[in-house]
């Protein structure tokens, strides 16, 4: 589940690992800047599929990559005058508290229950955006 065996890394048309990382960075960059998200949805599965990462390693590495990608995206959008910096900074502290609570909770609460709650929350938010 964790860790990866370098010998079992999938071959991807002879692309070097660096070229694969570049492809992941580019795809995640488009996704992140277009949708205002980090890009983890793209990065995690691709690290697993293309570089033989374990799930947890992919998650941790993805979060670190997201920092740089979101920073670049925020700067780019800032240049177009789209960023409301004060509001972004307003949501950062509760979000950070949520991350810490989430990682702690992960050890105690069934993953299925948490997933179900967030699935409903996202379905609701999609509905609000459409109507």
């Amino acid at each position: 589940m964790t860790g990866s065996d370098p010998l079992s890394e999938p071959r991807l048309g002879g692309l070097t690992p660096l070229a694969r990382l570049a492809a992941i960075g580019t795809l995640a960059g488009v996704f992140s800047a277009l949708f205002g998200v980090g890009g983890g949805t793209v990065i995690v599965p691709l690290l697993v599929l293309w570089l033989g990462y374990g799930d947890r390693e992919a998650t941790g590495t993805s979060l670190a990559a997201i920092v740089l990608i979101a920073l670049l995206g925020a700067a780019g959008h800032g240049a177009f005058g789209n960023v409301e910096l004060a509001k972004g900074l307003l949501i950062a502290p509760p979000a950070v508290a949520g991350v810490i609570a989430g990682t702690a909770l992960q050890q105690r609460v069934p993953e299925r229950a948490v997933s179900a709650v967030f699935a409903l929350l996202l379905a609701a938010s999609a509905t609000v955006l459409v109507f």
Binding site: T26, G29, V37, I66, I69, L71, A74, H77, A95
Partner: protein, 132 residues
């Protein structure tokens, strides 16, 4: 404007980030639209500021568990600017309504993924993970 609602959803978004390993933007964006009356484009741009914070703290926690390969993370981040530039320009050029609908579709895709996780039986040795 509803600051309490915004802060509550921001907390939930952080939790989602910590548990699933994403930045939380999928919830920041609708929260900024609904509670702060931002446009879809403004909300997406503003969300990225908070995503930086979530990513940094999440990565720090995961690093403590030995779940981070710093060189690969750096490579993905440093090799992303071309993609980021394409994304920024596309978001600015696109009609607001298109952006909203695409984002809603992304939310549903994400919700479906989480629902699959919720419905999957409790930790069994997973029978051949389905291809993504």
């Amino acid at each position: 404007m509803d600051v309490a609602g915004l802060l509550a959803v921001a907390f939930a978004a952080g939790m989602l980030g910590g548990i699933v390993g994403v930045g939380g933007g999928i919830l920041f964006v609708p929260a900024l639209v609904v509670f702060m009356d931002l446009t879809q484009l403004e909300a997406e741009a503003t969300s990225l500021v908070a995503v930086v914070a979530v990513g940094a703290v999440g990565a720090w926690r995961q690093h403590g568990y030995g779940n981070l390969r710093p060189r690969d993370a750096l490579a993905v981040g440093l090799l992303s600017p071309v993609g980021v530039a394409i994304g920024v320009v596309a978001a600015n050029e696109m009609p607001e309504r298109t952006l909203e609908l695409l984002f809603a579709a992304l939310s549903l895709y994400f919700a479906a993924g989480l629902a699959r996780r919720a419905l999957r039986g409790p930790e069994q040795p997973s029978p051949a993970r389905p291809p993504l």
